[in-house]
C-alpha cells in the first residue's frame, strides 16, 4: 500500500447527499461535524465536491428524480469508494415504504457498503458507520493494489 492509500484511510473525506430524507439524519450528520461530536478528530472532513470524496453518506430513500443525481455523484467519485446509507429510509425506505415516489433504499440504485439503522440515526451511530466503512475501504484498496500488481 502506497502512502496515498494509507493517508486515504487515515483521513477519509466524506460527501453528503440528501436523497429524500426528512432532514433528521442530515442534521445529525452536520451535528457529528460540529464541536460536540467533532468527527474531524479522526481526520474526516466534509467536502462538497464528489471528486474529492472517499466516502458517500446518503440519507433518505431514493425517489424517481434524484436517482439520476445520486448515480452521477457516485460515478464521479474516484475509486476506491465506500457508500454509507444513513438512517432507516436510506436502508429500506423506512416509514415512507408506501409512498408512490419512493423507489426504496439506496441499494436499489448504487451498491451500499454499510447500513446505519435508526430514525434518525444518532451521531454516534454515524461515526460507527463511517469507521466500519473505512474497513471496507481498506479491503477495496488492498484489492485494487493487488490488481495493479498483477
Amino acid at each position: 500500500m502506497g502512502i496515498i492509500q494509507k493517508s486515504q484511510l487515515k483521513s477519509p473525506w466524506v460527501l453528503h447527499y440528501d436523497c429524500s430524507s426528512c432532514n433528521g439524519c442530515d442534521i445529525e450528520i452536520l451535528a457529528s461535524l460540529t464541536p460536540v461530536y467533532d468527527i474531524e478528530r479522526f481526520g474526516i472532513i466534509n467536502t462538497g465536491n464528489p471528486k474529492h470524496a472517499d466516502v458517500l453518506l446518503v440519507t433518505g430513500g431514493v425517489n424517481r428524480r434524484n436517482a439520476r443525481v445520486l448515480k452521477n455523484l457516485y460515478n464521479q467519485m474516484p475509486e476506491p469508494k465506500v457508500v454509507v446509507a444513513v438512517g432507516s429510509c436510506a436502508c429500506t425506505g423506512g416509514v415512507f415504504y408506501n409512498c408512490y415516489n419512493i423507489l426504496g433504499g439506496v441499494d436499489k440504485v448504487i451498491p451500499v457498503d454499510v447500513y446505519v439503522p435508526g430514525c434518525a440515526a444518532r451521531p454516534e451511530a454515524i461515526i460507527d458507520g463511517v469507521v466500519l466503512g473505512l474497513q471496507k475501504l481498506k479491503e477495496k484498496t488492498q484489492m485494487k493494489s493487488e490488481e495493479v500488481a498483477k
Partner: protein, 358 residues
C-alpha cells in the same frame, strides 16, 4: 453582456438539502430565477391515505426532521378537532413546552447555518454547540434527539417528572446565559452586517401579496404570529410577536435571534404554570369530517387539512408548510443581488425542502 443560466443545487456545499434554482445571471447580477424542485418529493400525502390515522402521527412527524414535533402536534390537533376530543390542560402546557423547545433548536440550527453560509465558521460551531444542549433536553424528555414523537392523539405521550423539570429549567437558564455572549455577534458584528444588511429586501406589501409567513413576514414589519390566536395554552401565556421593519436578511436573522429568547421565556413559563393531572385521554372511534388547523412553526405558519370518512383511513391529508409559502418570496428577493449573495439570501428564508415537497 450575455446572460448565463446556472443551476444552484441540487447538490451544493451550502445547502444541506437538494433545492435547485436555475438562476439567470447577467455578469455577476441575478436577473431571474426559476425553481426546479422535486428532488425530495416522496408522496407522503398519499401514504397518509393508505395508513391508519393513528399511524399517520409517526408519518407526519417525518415530514421534516427539524420541526418534527410541530407537524405531529398539528395533525393530532386536527384529528382531535374532528373527533371533538378535549385534551387535558397538562397536555396543552406540555405541547407548548415541546413546541418552544423545537423552536429554540430550529432557530439555533438556522443561525448556525447562516453563519456557515457567509463563512463565519467559528460562529457556526458555537451555535451548534449550544444547540446540542437543547437536543440533550429533547433526548431526556422525548426519548430521541430529533424525532420526539411526544404528541399523540388525545394528549402527550411523554409526561415530565419534577426532577426533569428542574434539570430543564437549569439548562434553559444556562443556555440563555451562553446566548447572551453569542447573540451580540449576530446583532452587532461587522462581518455579519456586511453580508446581510440590505441583501434580499422584501417590503411589507410584497411580503403580504407574495404570501410570506412567520419570521420572514415579521421581519418585513407585519406583526403576525399564529400564537396570537391562542391555540393550546398560548392564550394563557403572555406573548407579543417580535417585529423588525427592514425586511432584509439581517432583519430576518435578528427576528430569529430574538425569538430564541422569547421561546426560552415561553418554555420556562409553560413549565412554571404546568397544571397537575393526566397528560393523555383515551380516544375511541374514527374521525368523520374535515378540518383546517394552523400552527406557528419555527419557520412560520403551517396549515393542515384533514378529512376523514368514519373509517380508519383518511380521505385526504394535506400540509402547506412555511417554506412552500416562501418560495415565491425567494424568487422576488434574489433578482438584483450578486452571485456571492445567493446562498445567504436563500438561507435567509430558512429553507426546509423536505417540508416543501413532502
Amino acid at each position: 453582456m450575455a446572460k448565463i443560466v446556472t443551476p444552484f443545487g441540487p447538490q451544493h456545499p451550502v445547502l444541506p438539502e437538494p433545492l435547485q434554482l436555475n438562476i439567470t445571471y447577467e455578469d455577476e447580477k441575478v436577473v431571474s430565477v426559476a425553481p426546479a424542485i422535486g428532488y425530495i418529493h416522496r408522496g407522503l400525502e398519499k401514504a397518509g391515505e393508505l395508513n391508519d390515522f393513528p399511524q399517520n402521527v409517526f408519518l407526519v412527524e417525518r415530514v421534516c426532521g427539524i420541526c418534527s414535533f410541530m407537524h405531529g402536534m398539528t395533525y393530532c390537533e386536527a384529528i382531535e378537532d374532528i373527533m371533538g376530543v378535549e385534551i387535558p390542560p397538562r397536555a396543552k402546557y406540555l405541547r407548548v413546552f415541546y413546541s418552544e423547545l423545537s423552536r429554540i433548536h430550529s432557530h439555533l440550527l438556522w443561525l448556525g447555518l447562516l453563519a456557515d453560509a457567509f463563512g463565519f465558521e467559528s460562529l457556526f460551531m458555537k451555535y451548534w454547540a449550544i444547540r446540542e444542549r437543547i437536543v440533550d433536553l429533547m433526548e431526556m424528555t422525548g426519548g430521541h434527539r430529533i424525532i420526539l414523537s411526544a404528541s399523540c392523539i388525545g394528549g402527550v405521550r411523554r409526561d415530565l417528572t419534577d426532577e426533569q423539570i428542574s434539570i430543564i429549567e437549569k439548562t434553559l437558564l444556562e443556555v440563555k446565559n451562553e446566548l447572551d455572549h453569542v447573540t451580540p455577534v449576530i446583532l452587532k458584528d461587522y462581518t455579519v452586517k456586511k453580508r446581510t444588511v440590505g441583501i434580499g429586501v422584501l417590503s411589507k406589501e410584497e411580503a403580504l401579496t407574495l404570501g410570506a409567513v412567520g419570521p420572514v413576514l415579521r421581519a418585513s414589519g407585519v406583526a403576525q404570529d399564529l400564537r396570537q390566536t391562542g391555540y393550546e395554552a398560548y392564550g394563557e401565556l403572555g406573548f407579543e410577536p417580535i417585529v423588525e421593519t427592514d425586511g432584509d436578511s439581517y432583519a430576518r436573522a435578528v427576528v430569529r435571534a430574538r425569538e430564541v429568547y422569547q421561546a426560552i421565556e415561553l418554555a420556562l413559563e409553560a413549565l412554571h404554570h404546568l397544571p397537575e393531572g393526566e397528560a393523555q385521554v383515551k380516544v375511541k372511534g374514527n374521525p368523520n369530517g374535515e378540518t383546517i388547523q394552523r400552527v406557528e412553526q419555527p419557520r412560520g405558519e403551517v396549515l393542515w387539512y384533514v378529512k376523514g370518512n368514519g373509517t380508519k383511513n383518511l380521505v385526504r391529508m394535506r400540509v402547506r408548510t412555511p417554506t412552500y409559502a416562501h418560495i415565491p418570496a425567494l424568487l422576488k428577493m434574489l433578482p438584483g443581488c450578486e452571485m456571492a449573495d445567493v446562498p445567504v439570501v436563500t438561507l435567509s428564508i430558512d429553507p426546509c425542502i423536505s417540508c416543501t415537497e413532502r
